[in-house]
């Protein structure tokens, strides 16, 4: 009998943990889906109709949708997120198309084709209940994450997305990179002369190709763009070479890597700030990047 208490305690602990885990998981799901976080919006809604979608990693976040809407007269929605890359973009885009109206134009910032392509595998568990596509992808590419997600509903909300969702307010499209790069960052960029840009991996190109095929099948125009680099970030010729190797698959890449010589338009060594975004959008309009959609809208408005 003296052993009854610890045995019961351990059994009740197990039970309490699992019941609590399920309940908390449901609460988290409710809070997430109730929010205006960009990915929650596309999973809770049907019939969303945006003219322009923007995809990318943190560089893609530099596209400030409210400003774009104001300048272009087109409805815009930014679906970029830090560290996320083309495999995730493919998943989200395909899920988006299931319930929503295909956009006219899709902007893809090409840094989402570079580097470590599987960063999304630690975050997509939040979509475990919302997307069969995401669930299967997780099971295939990160079985351990999938198993933990099956075990614990709370674990599915492990990551930034839920916290970001709780902080999203009326719209997370106002979430933008602010501030200016410090002198230390600028000096660090200028002092390093040997930065390399590896050619796109076979997998990145395959994913990009698959993305374009899906987009074209739905009548969407895809434009790949290279956001501005900090002046002196790469030696001359490096970016051109990279873009040339990418264009064999993607077609034209709009190269704005050398657009800015002003360091104040950058938040840090990798990202333009909101002032940089304004200038980038203005330049893109001048270059006809949004042709014919911007021009069509202008015609409709009688301008």
């Amino acid at each position: 009998m003296k052993n009854t208490r610890p045995v019961l305690s351990l059994l009740v602990l197990l039970l309490f943990f699992f019941i609590g885990d399920r309940m908390i998981g449901y609460v988290f799901n409710y809070l997430f889906m109730r929010s205006n976080f960009r990915y929650a919006t596309i999973y809770k809604s049907e019939g969303l109709n945006y003219d322009v979608l923007i995809f990318g990693n943190s560089r893609g976040r530099s596209y400030y949708a409210p400003y774009m809407e104001e300048k272009l007269g087109l409805t815009c929605y930014n679906l970029s997120y830090n560290r996320l890359r083309i495999p995730f973009i493919n998943l989200v885009f395909n899920d988006y198309l299931e319930k929503n109206v295909p956009p006219k134009l899709i902007i893809v910032e090409i840094h989402s084709l570079m580097g470590y392509l599987d960063g999304h595998l630690s975050v997509i568990k939040i979509f475990y209940d919302m997307s069969e596509r995401m669930r299967k992808h997780l099971a295939t590419y990160n079985h351990k994450e999938w198993q933990l997600s099956r075990l614990s509903r709370v674990y599915r909300y492990n990551g930034e997305f839920l916290i970001r969702a709780l902080l999203s307010g009326k719209s997370d499209q106002y979430w933008m990179i602010q501030g200016k790069a410090s002198q230390a960052v600028i000096e660090s960029v200028l002092s390093k002369k040997d930065r390399k840009l590896n050619p796109p991996s076979g997998r990145a190109l395959q994913e990009a190709k698959a993305f374009m095929e899906t987009a074209n099948a739905y009548g969407c125009e895809v434009r790949f763009v290279y956001n501005p680099n900090m002046p002196g970030f790469y030696q001359e010729g490096i970016v051109d070479k990279y873009i040339a190797s990418l264009q064999k698959t993607t077609g034209k890449v709009w190269d704005y890597s050398d657009l800015f010589q002003d360091f104040t338009l950058f938040r840090d060594d990798l990202h333009i700030n909101i002032e940089g975004c304004y200038e980038l959008i203005d330049q893109q309009i001048a270059d006809g990047f949004y042709f014919p959609f911007f021009e069509q809208r202008e015609e409709q408005n009688g301008e």
């Binding site: 052993n3 610890p6 351990l10 609590g20 908390i24 916290i163 230390a184």
Partner: protein
Amino acid sequence: MLVSSYVFYGWWDWRFLSLIAISTLVDYWAGRNMARTDEVRKRKLLLLLSLTLNLGLLGFFKYFNFFIESTAEFLTLFGMRANLPTLRIILPVGISFYTFQTLSYTIDIYRHQLEPEKSLLRFAVFVAFFPQLVAGPIVRARLLLPQLRVDNHFDWNRLQQGVTLVIWGYFLKVGLADSVAVLVDAVYGQPRLFFSSALITGTVFYAFQIYGDFCGYSSIAIGIARMLGFDFGINFNKPYFAVSFSDFWKRWHISLSSWLRDYLYIPLGGNRSGKWKTYRNLMLTMLLGGLWHGAAMRFIIWGGLHGIFLVVQRLSQKPSQWLYERVFIPKIIRKAIAIPLVFALVCITWIFFRAGNLSEAMLILRKVFRLNEFSLLTLPPKIDVLKGSLLIAFVIVVDWLDEHYDFFSRLPSKPWLYVSFLSLVLWLTFFFGNFFANAFIYFVF
């Protein structure tokens, strides 16, 4: 238990099992023969054999390249260029721990404080016991060997205690340490790019990362041992509630600090040979304690700083006493000043521990003290700061409860508190935890 311990260790690299085996055999033999003779010379020789072998192994695997490189640098000060060869040496996991563990055995026998173990099998289990083999705690022979000699039966109460420790330890490691590590790695990875607010945040987070990592591992090891019927004592006792540096070293990595006290500080004379020798002994003990952690100047500096703070504490004892006799300062106020002060000074030492090299440590220190552009706007990603702060606050609250109300001891006797608390800890681990992160920091020591 021996087979499972050897399999556990050999899974990482089976070749290094030979080192544990050699250390085991030599120390077993030395211990048995020391006890058979009263001749001081023979006993000294046998002790010397044990010391030479264990410290020799440790010295070779851990410090060979460091001494070669330091010698070469030293020679360049005199204008000599020495192309001294370095070796590509793999550091055997846990060598710093099990060598100290076996040394405690032979030294205690030499001092007539312990009878030698008759059973080689039992002694081998003592050396290689898997829960504490790779990262401590350093369990003394006089604590563990008697427990290995008695028959052990399964006990549900011990299982419950062990489960508590394992769950808490897992939270400290996966939930706390590996979560805050993200921000720490970002800040310490490129300290030149960050302002003082980020560097201070990163350093405070690191203080809790290393605490969570090491205390977490210890808790898991002690918990597993408890489930198996063994008591390892405690290795951490809420160190960030320390009111002085000597108090800190009674709470942090207790198994190492007590080992250094008993086998280094006291044999050097401790505090019984006058004040200057006491300061010398403190400094030597802490410098060697720093060196134990790693073959690099920054660890020696880390140890040296702790030595300095201990010496300063001693020097300030009389002035403090004089002040308290004349000015009434309630104990609670004294504690409220002392605890954050000690924590801040400990954080300064952690800068050296974590920085990539000495020049980066000095850079961080300069920026922190200049408060160069301290601003909430210049903090690293707010989400990481928020997450880390919540976790740290939770750990501080739990530690405070344990410090003042013996929380963990009382837990098993209050079933609903036990269930609620551990469920909460598990939920926090699943919600915040980084399950795919780093190995334990102390695995490299």
